[in-house]
Amino acid sequence: MSVAGQVGLAHPKPSLAVWKFASCDGCQVSLLDLEDQLLDLLGALDISYFLEVTRTVVDGPYDLAIVEGSVTTPADAERIKAVRAASHFLVTVGACATAGGIQALRNYADTGEYVPTVYANPAYISSLPTSTPVSAHVTVDFELHGCPINPVQLLEVITAYLAGRAPRIPDFPVCRECKAAGNVCLLVAEGVACLGPVTSAGCGALCPTVGRGCFGCFGPASTVNTASLSSRLAADGASQESLKRIFRGFTAGAPEFEKESSRHDPQP
């Protein structure tokens, strides 16, 4: 990727670059899911690099960079540095980019657990032993959480960027959204394991609303007490193994959840 050329903030329309690392594309798709705003949004920005949408590729630097996906290969560990160097404001989106994603489960696997049952020629693959968030490699200006992100929150982040203000993204727990939705508490009333008390709001309490426990896809809320929740789940009958698994999910690599899952892991 070249960093030649000069677009810069003085340009009337800010330039946008969207980058994909190890991910499912779902967060980019969430941008495209803003059907009613999409054409206005794409019209307010110069789309300089967005492979999912256009063949047009314009050299950086870029005003706004949106990064989806985690860093899992030596080549990507270099590429993210080039992306950072070419970007004025870098936003990471989704659980992969902000916490390593579900593929971060490899971080806990022993070599022996990843047996090449299907895979015949390991020499062809170049992969790091860990899946890490973008922030482990370069400075990130804003992180938007979710697996996937909420398209409305992404719209808020981009709008705030265009307006030159800070985005209003809550980091209080899912419980607050769940109460607002008028749900009966699954944890209290039915003993269902639910990560709502320790997970950041943003989804609108989707899972409790359909009667299942939150599984933490927006990552930890601010100032949470994961150990206290674990004690409560254990009192309701959850085994150490299931406590380990519940915190080791789509945001396994988020520090608060990583610490809590490791507390319940017999293998250090």
Binding site: K20, A22, C24, D25, G26, Q28, V29, S30, L32, D33, E35, L39, I47, L51, E52, V53, R55, T72, T73, D76, G101, I102, Q103, R106, T111, E113, Y114, V115, P116, V118, Y119, A120, N121, P122, Y124, I125, P129, P148, E190, G191, V192, A193, L195, L206, C207, T209, V210, R212, G213, C214, F215, C217, L233, D236, A238, S239, S242, R245, I246, G249
Partner: protein, 454 residues
């Protein structure tokens, strides 16, 4: 335009496809000597990370393989798990799954037809340029996509990685009131999809014919979506488990995806062209009529005309979804009773763990196949008596199509050797895009031995 008899062309990073890949074509002595679809999407090792997780987590975890077709992953994983655990979902559950899946077909096809594929037929770089020349048409595409997403939101809880799907059925059945609210947007979407067929049928298509072996599901006279037997244009007719045995994958240097062959020999094609070739007679009336008016032959062997087949399938998805909306009965209970060994932590009722452990006996195996928008998606699992996954195998449509896409690249390159290189490169790009490859999916089912420094 003359150029040397030895040259190579290609694209390092293909635009307007899902995931990251490129292609290369080498010409020697004026003839195509080598073609390769390169997949360099980083592998995410799903088959390895599923091992040791609860069978109940398979739909949620495998959904994360693909943000465009998460429902396909949820449905194939549920089908495989239900086969392994002898769970038979109710007719109402099957109908509601079919409705959810219609939503995914509609949003995925609308995305591909309008935002990814159509710009090629006008020489535009993207749908933004298309919108600058014809805004209403792009708005029509976005409205179709939105309706698909609305179905997924209503039934599944959200459009990307729905939360309401579980092995055995759903966590909560949507109310009849919520489902009936889908009827109006679906009627408008039906009109819009009929207009889409008319629009794309008028595109200018290169005259290319592929000699395809088609593979698709067949489902008792219905157009196949969420289940059925696996059939081929070569006479194959088998169960999902037999299909799992017939598909042999090989690993090659240029790709982080595996290449699939049937019985280890024949490359084949799955997806809209194959579904249409093997099931055209099962289309709903308006979809069949739209295909006839678009002069879509059965089978259609011109890969560039796959956009017409996708548009016809959008008509089908709207008609079928409308029928399911109008006949909706909430499944009661919303999910089949099932073993719950070890719970799964989140969402489980801890008290059920012990009861479940007694019900689950020895290790069980099951395979499931459903029709993702891009073609048949196979899942295969072994589940231990503790309810934890022992083995997982996932064969997505794009890895099945990879060899056929390369054959198409060769065909298109050979037919276009007289074209200027830039034009030929563009046409070759479209030859790949014709099959709506989902490269994130294809790259994500490798297993790996990690080497760590001591």
């Amino acid at each position: 335009m003359t150029h040397s008899r030895d040259y190579a062309f290609g694209v390092d990073a293909l635009a307007r496809v899902e995931g990251e890949g490129g292609f290369r074509v080498v010409v020697r002595d004026g003839a195509v000597s080598e073609v390769a679809l390169d997949i360099f999407e980083p592998p995410r090792f799903f088959e390895a990370l599923l091992v040791g997780r609860s069978y109940r987590e398979a739909p949620d975890i495998t959904a994360r393989i693909c943000g465009i077709c998460p429902v396909a992953y949820q449905m194939s994983s549920c089908a495989a798990m239900e086969s392994a655990l002898d769970i038979v979902p109710s007719r109402q559950v099957v109908d509601l799954r079919r409705l959810l899946y219609c939503g995914e077909w509609l949003q995925s096809h609308a995305l591909h037809v309008y935002l990814l594929h159509a710009p090629d037929f006008f020489g535009y770089e993207d749908a933004v340029q298309l919108a600058a020349h014809d805004k209403p048409v792009v708005e029509r595409g976005l409205a179709l996509k939105k309706t698909g997403n609305k179905i997924m939101g209503t039934v599944g809880g959200r459009a990307v990685h729905p939360v309401n799907v579980r092995v055995g059925g759903f966590y909560k059945a949507p109310s009849p009131f919520e489902i009936s609210a889908l009827a109006e947007p679906l009627r408008r979407a039906l009109d819009a999809s009929l207009a889409t067929v008319e629009w794309v049928a008028g595109f200018d298509f290169p005259d290319v014919t592929g000699d395809y072996l088609f593979v698709a599901l067949r489902d008792e006279g219905r157009y196949p979506i969420e289940g059925g037997r696996v059939v081929s244009s070569g006479g194959l007719d088998c169960t999902p488990a037999e299909f799992a045995d017939a598909v042999v994958e090989e690993h090659v240097a240029r790709s982080t995806a595996l290449h699939a062959r049937l019985f280890g020999q024949k490359p084949y094609l799955t997806g809209p062209l194959a579904r249409y070739a093997l099931n055209a007679g099962a289309l709903t009336p308006l979809a069949a009529e739209a295909a006839r008016r678009a002069q879509l032959e059965v089978p259609c062997r011109n890969p560039f005309r796959s956009i017409v087949v996708r548009a016809v399938e959008m008509v089908f998805a709207c008609e079928e979804a409308l029928r399911l909306v109008e006949s909706y009965e909430p499944p009661e209970p919303p999910a089949a009773d099932m073993p719950d060994p070890e719970g799964n932590g989140a969402g489980a009722t801890p008290g059920a763990e012990r009861a479940g452990a007694e019900r689950a006996g020895a290790e069980r195996a099951g395979a499931g196949v459903t029709e993702a928008p891009r073609g048949v998606l196979l899942h295969e699992y072994n589940v231990g008596p503790d309810g934890l996954i022992r083995h997982a195998r996932i064969v997505p449509p794009t890895s099945q199509n990879q060899l056929t896409i390369e054959a198409d690249l060769r065909r298109v390159a050979e037919a276009g050797l007289e074209l200027p290189p830039e034009e030929l490169t563009k046409r070759a790009e479209v030859a790949v895009r014709n099959h709506d490859p989902c490269i994130s999916c294809a790259a994500h089912f490798l297993d790996l031995t990690l080497e760590r420094a001591p």
